[in-house]
């Protein structure tokens, strides 16, 4: 086994082509997954001081600490609540619009598509700050609705562009065939168009939900410490507590992402995701 640790030997054993591929894989894993794995390790360290590479003492001390903090536990509930409401509202508003954009031709269609680019081109903080002024006027500061609106700003572009590109890839003939055998427009939509556009919609939903789970800046500004989601708490933890507490909390923050990605893995592919960035 150890003889493969000698690069020269490994080079000849694996062959030239495989050698480079292994090198790419190693670099890739170290850079993209190394930090995450190191963080997971830290979360299970009771004691982890310089210069130890592996923790001096393993254990669940920091997990107990995090779960004993009332504010941290309530932030988890808060985060999930906001994310679910945001995703539901966003779907309800955007999926009909996406369908219309994909299937109908009407004046102003491009302007509408472009208006979503605005949310990406204008600095978010700029939008948040001036929306704050509006929110004060309508008493939305520090309310759940206010935070949900802020989170929706981030997700609407994906929620329209991705399903729109998915609906466009459903063949019109398939819908027409369903209509021909007597299905009404709504039934055709729910039985034919929607299931076939599911990959795009699934990825958009995933984006919206996870985007809402990680939004911190706008929530801090608009939530006024009354609505504290997990990432908002996380900023505090990073600054105030030892590294391990942050690592534990970071893992808690990643769990929803991991679960959802696993559940939707068959929908997640380069094509489905890339569709969300193309305006057609």
């Amino acid at each position: 086994m150890f003889k493969y640790l000698n690069p020269k030997r490994f080079y000849h054993a694996a062959g030239k082509k495989h050698f480079w591929e292994f090198l790419i894989l190693a670099g890739f894993l170290l850079f993209f997954y190394g930090p995450l794995l190191n963080m997971i390790m830290m979360a299970f360290a009771n004691k982890y001081e310089v210069p130890a590479v592996l923790p001096q003492e393993w254990g669940f001390k920091w997990w107990e600490f995090v779960f004993s903090q009332q504010s941290l536990v309530s932030s988890i509930v808060q985060s999930l609540l906001v994310a679910v409401i945001t995703t539901a509202c966003s779907m309800l508003l955007c999926i009909p619009a996406a369908y219309a954009l994909a299937r109908f031709k009407f004046p102003g269609r491009k302007v509408f598509m472009l208006s979503f680019l605005l949310t990406n081109a204008f600095p978010k903080l700029g939008i948040y700050t001036s929306i704050g002024i509006l929110f004060y006027k309508y008493n939305l500061m520090g309310t759940l609705l206010g935070v949900v609106i802020i989170h929706m700003i981030n997700s609407m572009m994906f929620m329209v562009w991705l399903p729109a590109s998915a609906f466009r890839s459903v063949h019109r003939q398939q819908e027409e065939a369903a209509r021909d055998v007597g299905a009404g427009p709504l039934r055709t939509f729910f039985k034919v168009s929607l299931p076939m556009a599911m990959p795009g919609i699934a990825v958009a939903t995933l984006y919206t939900f996870l985007g809402s789970m990680e939004e911190a800046q706008g929530t801090m500004l608009v939530g006024l410490a009354r609505i504290k989601t997990m990432p908002v708490e996380m900023y505090g933890i990073i600054l105030d507590y030892p590294g391990q507490a942050g690592a534990v909390f970071a893992i808690l923050l990643v769990i929803p992402a991991a679960v959802l990605i696993f559940a939707m893995r068959k929908y997640i592919g380069p094509e489905a995701i890339a569709g969300g960035f193309k305006m057609k």
């Binding site: 680019l117 800046q217 990432p231 890339a274």
Partner: protein, 281 residues
């Protein structure tokens, strides 16, 4: 009412709720910000001094230059690395490339705060790299924290997978038969790349660069946790104007300046998207 009008009416009814929401929560706030940026904080009258501040104060000019430097280096590096990765994923079929092909989708879904935090545990002066070097008797300090280089490294983590994904999707649309036929009539690999692969994937490169550019001009999490005190990224500068100095007019002006910077790349993006329409019809 004829059928065509009816269809249009339905389309507008479907689009309207989302459109009005975007108007209310995005367009109106942007418009208010624009108005605020020209308002004098003391007299409430019209002024250009909010903009003038950012173009005459040496420190603010340095922040602007620093931001552009970080963003441009990020875009160029990310696109080059992503293109190579995408070529590898598209043209080399092996278990390893398939594994990378599914693993590189994940970083897109990791909360940015978590990713930055994880990277810090590696590259800070008491981080993993330093600890490993101490194992071998050295004392290697990466010197990446609070530097442009550290932020650029972090930006690679976020943007390389994203750009590679966009380019892979584009490369995947190039049929194998096209490349094979070019090879059959004697085109070299380089010729195939220059005259088939590059032009056909150019649009995706533009789209990827646009979004990498825009997301980095206003980036906040990475510079907030990894950046130094000076020079700082515009996202932090904006946050400070708003949160620390309570200069709302200046914050609004800076938002508009950042928007204009983004508009340049958004313009390129729209141009490529609309140009393509002509022959796709």
């Amino acid at each position: 009412m004829n059928k065509e009008t009816k269809r249009k009416l339905i389309a507008y009814l479907l689009v309207l709720p989302a459109f009005l929401t975007v108007m209310a929560v995005v367009a109106i706030p942007i418009f208010t910000a624009l108005k605020t940026s020209f308002t004098d904080p003391d007299t409430g009258g019209f002024t250009l001094s909010n903009y003038g501040y950012f173009f005459t104060t040496p420190n603010e000019l340095k922040n602007l230059g620093f931001t552009l430097y970080v963003v441009v280096v990020t875009v160029v590096l990310a696109i080059i690395i992503a293109y190579l990765l995408a070529l590898y994923l598209r043209f080399i079929k092996s278990p390893i490339s398939r594994a990378i092909g599914s693993l590189y989708l994940l970083p897109r879904f990791i909360p940015s705060l978590v990713a930055v935090y994880a990277m810090i545990t590696i590259i800070r002066d008491s981080g993993l790299l330093n600890r490993i070097s101490q194992l071998f008797g050295g004392d290697f300090k990466p010197g990446l924290m609070y530097q442009a280089s550290g932020m650029i490294l972090m930006n690679m983590w976020f943007n390389v997978p994203f750009a590679a994904l966009m380019i892979t999707a584009g490369l995947g649309a190039i049929p194998d038969s096209m490349i094979e036929s070019a090879r059959d009539v004697g085109a070299s690999k380089l010729q195939v790349f220059r005259s088939i692969i590059l032009p056909l994937s150019f649009k995706d490169v533009v789209i990827a660069s646009t979004f990498v550019f825009m997301s980095n001009v206003g980036s906040f999490t990475t510079p907030y946790l990894m950046g130094g005190n000076f020079p700082k990224m515009l996202g932090i500068s904006l946050f400070d104007q708003f949160n620390k100095y309570l200069r709302y007019e200046r914050a609004a002006a800076l938002s508009v300046i950042m928007f204009l910077i983004c508009s340049v790349s958004a313009g390129v993006y729209i141009y490529t998207n609309l140009k393509e329409k002509e022959w796709e019809k």
